[in-house]
Symmetry: D2
Subunit: 100 residues, 4 copies
């Protein structure tokens, strides 16, 4: 089952700057080989359910290994069986409507 996901990792019990942790999660995603895209409030990623969830889990493990004691993560995910869809299609179809 293919999923399109947005997720945000929130380290708890650390300092107030989170960019080192977000950067580490980006490195984990890079190694996963999954299509992914950082935005101001999270990261979009798409792929097979198992692979995407394994990548998010690997981010948790990497951050805990950096010393983060507790992590709160938000995941928004979408599955559909009516047709194949990719992340790029979603913004493209909204933009097409805005131009028409």
């Amino acid at each position: 089952m293919q999923v399109i996901v947005d997720f945000t990792l929130v380290p708890v019990g650390t300092g107030v700057s989170l960019s080192a942790y977000v950067a580490e999660a980006q490195r984990v995603l890079e190694k996963s080989g999954l299509v992914h895209e950082l935005h101001a409030n999270g990261t979009n990623v798409e792929g097979e359910w198992e692979e995407v969830m394994a990548a998010i889990r690997a981010c948790h493990e990497a951050l805990h290994a950096m010393g983060v004691p507790r992590i709160h993560t938000d995941i928004k995910l979408g599955t559909r069986v009516d047709r194949d869809q990719h992340m790029a299609d979603k913004t493209a179809s909204v933009r097409a409507r805005l131009r028409s």
Copy 2:
């Protein structure tokens, strides 16, 4: 890795009443054997990462099998390595503070 999760399945492209789908997801969770608790805006569940994610995936499969073409799901999840924690502990520690 243990996780404490809150998740909400939102069927898209169906009628406006969602309770049949939420009930089906409850049946899937019941079969999973995981500790879970329905609330007004989602379901709390805890257990091993793989088992909890497999249960949420099984909910997606069950709803698609009921004819739901598209599902949006929100997951909030927490992991911690400083100590063992369960769902019941979280509300208990807040309530203890409110009484003191």
Copy 3:
């Protein structure tokens, strides 16, 4: 416009224990007079859009006043114009289906 909301405040840049902050947010909600209910991963609240959002904002202000430098909050909210619905109705209709 009536809303049914689930929200979770995640203090960032503090210690690993969050129960003091969750308890403070419960006190803020208590003062708001809104119907609300704590669960293991957040708090459900319902009421007029403006009042609910003002209560969540008041929680942010209260936590910052306690010294929390940064707060990440998740809100899941629902509005509907087909009929009036309350939090208690949502779980009741799922439970009725599970019994039938």
Copy 4:
């Protein structure tokens, strides 16, 4: 109080294609004058708490006016009192770490 927000509107009880609704929400945000950015799973927006919340409420009203009977919305929001921060700063500081 300044907020940085990611939000996703999920129309319920409509057809399976949601791009017309997302496009309408983009028009509402455009009129609001707030800094905003569409991504594959939502929209990032920043500004004063009251203005951002009023814009999201205006999106709900616009979609209900288009005939959407029920809307589920996810909001992730951040406030901080330690320093001023904008959406563009967040991705820039992660990218700076990835380059170093």
